[in-house]
Amino acid sequence: MTVVRPGDWLVIAAGLAATVATAASQWGQAAPAHAQVRLDGRVVAELPLTGRHRVSIDGALSSRGPTVIEVEPGRARVAADPGPRQYCVLQGWLTRAGSVAVCAPSHVTLQLTGAGSMPDTVAF
């Protein structure tokens, strides 16, 4: 009797299909829908990630300049911020739903929202 029989191929094909389908559904881009900008925790701008936008926010350090949020199709970033260490600027483009850039000195946050929002961290 042969090692691999007709039904075996069927099961292997089904297993392959299940693997590919799970990979597609789990690892597919969780497309972010909006860039949400908050100042002191309040939403001050909600920009769709479809077109190009540039928004200036006068944050807690507004005497030293505005925080500039830049949106392009599918991504957003903090283009400029008066904060001393520039962490939120250096973070660059955010592309995944749920990712956040925090400009703590300015009290400004930029977050991408969308259907497939992921947790920041899972610890167990």
Partner: protein, 176 residues
């Protein structure tokens, strides 16, 4: 040893089936222990070598014997590895239970049409599926766990095929 047992005592006489089951269970436990020594990058990704033994028992002696060997393997294997009643034990038990149920259901399908390879793959998917569901319900109560599902499924496919081919070849070489 001379038996001095009185009339009220019983001496358990292992039947041929008992010996056979013990024989297979010993092989499965050895395989599980060897495997426990292999480092794995991800908990849950394991070759499942003991399942080669389960498949051979299933093919030669039927589902009930396969259940016995599997149960003995999970309990004795975890005792020897110091994992009895630890989380890993429950994961192994739930995986083994699910794969036994699938193998039991597949017994309705002719072995001429569905051989050890297909059964092995189906059982491997059931095994990791059962583990994932228990882990999701109990150990990692977050859907983020399912992000790893494609890795687990790919491993199930690969090791399922390999174990099935190994079992089929072993049976070919050692015809009963």
């Amino acid at each position: 040893m001379a038996s001095t047992a009185g009339p009220a005592s019983h001496e358990v006489q292992p039947s041929a089936r008992d010996r056979r089951l013990a024989h297979y269970a010993a092989a499965a436990i050895a395989a599980a222990l060897v495997e426990a020594a292999i480092p794995s990058p991800l908990p849950g990704v394991k070759p499942g070598l003991a399942n080669v033994v389960i498949l051979i028992v299933l093919a030669r002696h039927g589902w009930r014997d396969a259940v016995w060997v599997s149960v003995l393997r999970v309990i004795a294997g975890s005792l020897l590895a110091g994992q009895f009643l630890a989380p890993g034990f429950f994961l192994a038990a739930s995986g083994a239970l699910c794969s036994l149920l699938v193998l039991g259901a597949l017994q309705a399908v002719s072995w001429r049409w569905l051989g050890p390879v297909g059964r092995s793959v189906a059982a491997a998917f059931a095994h990791i599926g059962g583990q994932l569901l228990l882990a999701r319900a109990w150990l990692v109560p977050h859907d983020g766990l399912f992000n790893l599902a494609p890795v687990f499924f790919a491993a199930a496919l690969l090791f399922g095929v390999v174990n099935g081919v190994v079992a089929a070849r072993l049976m070919e070489r050692n015809p009963q």
